[in-house]
Symmetry: D2
Subunit: 234 residues, 4 copies
């Protein structure tokens, strides 16, 4: 049994630069072919204009493929993103799931205050922390032991898995473009400068933050324009 309080996000491959965006956009005003390779000084200004006036399509000629490990309750939220996202996930029908479970780290706020859409979270007291940690450890362990016992009895994986809790880890590949990634980031991160506030669960935000790091690194001008324009996806 392994308990984790983090998520894994690796960038497997990408075909995504700021120049891709600028080159795609210039076909509108200049026409003809550019090779998507020559960055120019004017790219940054053009990208900012596209972001501000919500010309979203030039941002789609880019591609990121991520590998993610996270608990099922996070993956459930992630896969609600449909447009511009492709997924392949580990299957509980085709393989035995590994005994890796999510348990919140000590600092994770445990109390929820306020109304739906405006929740605030505060630290749990000692009793709450202990209960969360103990109960998650206990239920995860019991469930996994039951799972393996059913498998040992010859029960099909797709049936035995029914006892597993939603904090068990799964893994998946996700491919997206910069536009769909920004849409995801705008909804699954919290940021004081965001024009439209979002209230994601902390665990999916952990995935989003790691993806944003890769995005920031590989498309710095696009990221800067996203940030400057209130984190509204174009």
């Amino acid at each position: 049994m392994e308990f984790r309080s983090d998520v894994t996000v690796d960038l497997i491959k990408h075909a995504a630069t700021d120049t891709d965006v600028a080159s795609a956009a210039r076909v509108s005003t200049i026409g003809g072919e550019s090779r998507f390779t020559e960055a120019t000084e004017k790219d940054a200004g053009l990208i900012n204009y596209l972001m501000r006036d919500r010309h979203g399509s030039p941002f789609e000629h880019t591609s990121f493929t991520f590998y993610v490990e996270g608990p099922i309750f996070v993956i459930r939220e992630f896969f609600r993103h449909r447009a511009g996202w492709s997924y392949n996930e580990e299957s509980g029908r085709y393989k035995q799931l590994q005994p890796v479970f999510y348990k919140p780290a000590d600092g994770r706020p445990l109390r929820q205050i306020g109304k739906p859409g405006k929740y605030e979270f505060t630290a749990g007291d000692y009793k709450q922390q202990r209960a969360v940690s103990g109960d998650i450890t206990r239920i995860s362990t019991e469930a996994y032991e039951t799972y393996t016992r059913l498998l040992d009895l010859g029960v099909a994986r797709e049936v035995a898995r029914m006892v597993l809790p939603v904090n068990i880890y799964s893994s998946f590949y996700a491919t997206c473009n910069a536009r769909s990634l920004m849409h995801f980031l705008s909804l699954r991160t919290t940021d004081e400068t965001a024009k439209f506030p979002s209230f994601p669960q902390r665990e999916i935000e952990m995935v989003a933050e790691k993806m944003e790091d890769f995005f920031h690194f590989h498309m710095p001008e696009t990221w800067a324009a996203f940030q400057r324009n209130g984190r509204v996806a174009p």
Copy 2:
């Protein structure tokens, strides 16, 4: 605690007839406006031609909205369908989940034989049946009691739910068109006449079969053409 071995599928509303398909298709060859209301004798032949030659777009001018209750492991598979599907699901962050859990009915095959993509399922023996039934009851009960105890302690719903197993029920609305519905049916049902075989888990097939009944009832000619042409979505 409630244990169910079935799923709920209700058709909430629909705007979908065979005539919609034929009317939309006729704009290609005749042009101009038809009112989508006058069914003609030629509709069936036209629909069959569209299905056979995979002219899919005329089937999209239709709309079905379903209400579904099923276990999370089914919903996870369902929401992988992206194109032409819209979803809203009960939230474990916004409300307390109800103590309703899936437990396979007695006849549900429990043994899996063969390789991935060609699994066959056979009935479980008495020992397997008893283990599945007993373990699912026990784990579900313990998990739900733990869940409510954590809630009583003031732990946030989004944290407390982490102990719940994937056989807990959730509910959602799904809206689709006839084309996306046929694509779903082609992948999530088994049928001897299907040109391309599929191997869905029985529990999602139970949802698919109920949806197909509504589809069959409201779009009989489209359904017949789907069946006649090997259940290949156009």
Copy 3:
């Protein structure tokens, strides 16, 4: 030969009410089934909250099917809208196109001032008006006469049509949901209260305005929330 300066937009059928939106949203916080029929006093407030915080999915459980007649240069822009839109258009391969052409009305601004993305349009002078009207009439007429002459010679429709100008009318059906419709309206209309300005060509805005009238009529609370929140599609 017929010259038009307007567009046709008819609502063929719809399954779309404000209550659909509110009912779909309530599954998140209440769960269980509602029949999508009982409007309540609280619907308007809920819809406004969904719009403001960009919870877009509840708006997707709605369906509008429009019939549109307009010139090809408008249809080309329209069909760039992909997500949530379905189309079937009159075919120049399957039928002879009718001699109906777009010619701007007298008041249509003819001069373009400023840079891309910030164009302003002003009225044309007498000379420009006369040239536009005369040239469009002449070229359309010549092109259509050539088209019919080629058809009379036995040339295939798909070849003969190559001489026809982009101001010839075509007709199509378009089906969308309220979310994709609002996205279209936010980009293809101009409105002083819009949070993000758009610069559509006047002719596609004419289509958008007619669609907005139907949307406003059938989903008044959703339309009001759209307007109140700066015409940003959720």
Copy 4:
């Protein structure tokens, strides 16, 4: 004035290999991370299995960006492909269009025989060939001269372009994945081995054939599986 009878299709960039498909698929059965780089002998067999049983999602973790030049009547058909396609096209509002027009090559069949969906095309006679060539030259030339005269008078580009015929060339970037590309190829090419016949206009098939060459070159096993399984997109 330039008259062309061909189309341009360049592959601008790609992130697409057979190994991408196999690696994405293996997450289902093996789980965990692979680096998408190590091709194995078993890739070809796995890819063929995925194609045959229509497991389409692993083919989506790939990306091709094409630059295309073709006449507007071809682009109109192309942009009907929505799922998995991104586009940016030269704009007749933002720039003056160049005087490049499509004229069928001498061998292009000009006669259409049979019913919709089963057209056959045969060579034109001398009179037809001469009429097509002469009329297209004449109308294209007149239209373009009128276009430039209107521009010289100060008429806005978006108005002046209304006189231009649908055989004028435009240019665009298109980004897709291998799955959406195969769907396009299955509908826009003719091939004797295809399980489902298609009847594309020759000019869009010319674009499709060039795209297929790039696809074949960069993903040879995927292409072979596509071919072997009747050119049905998974």
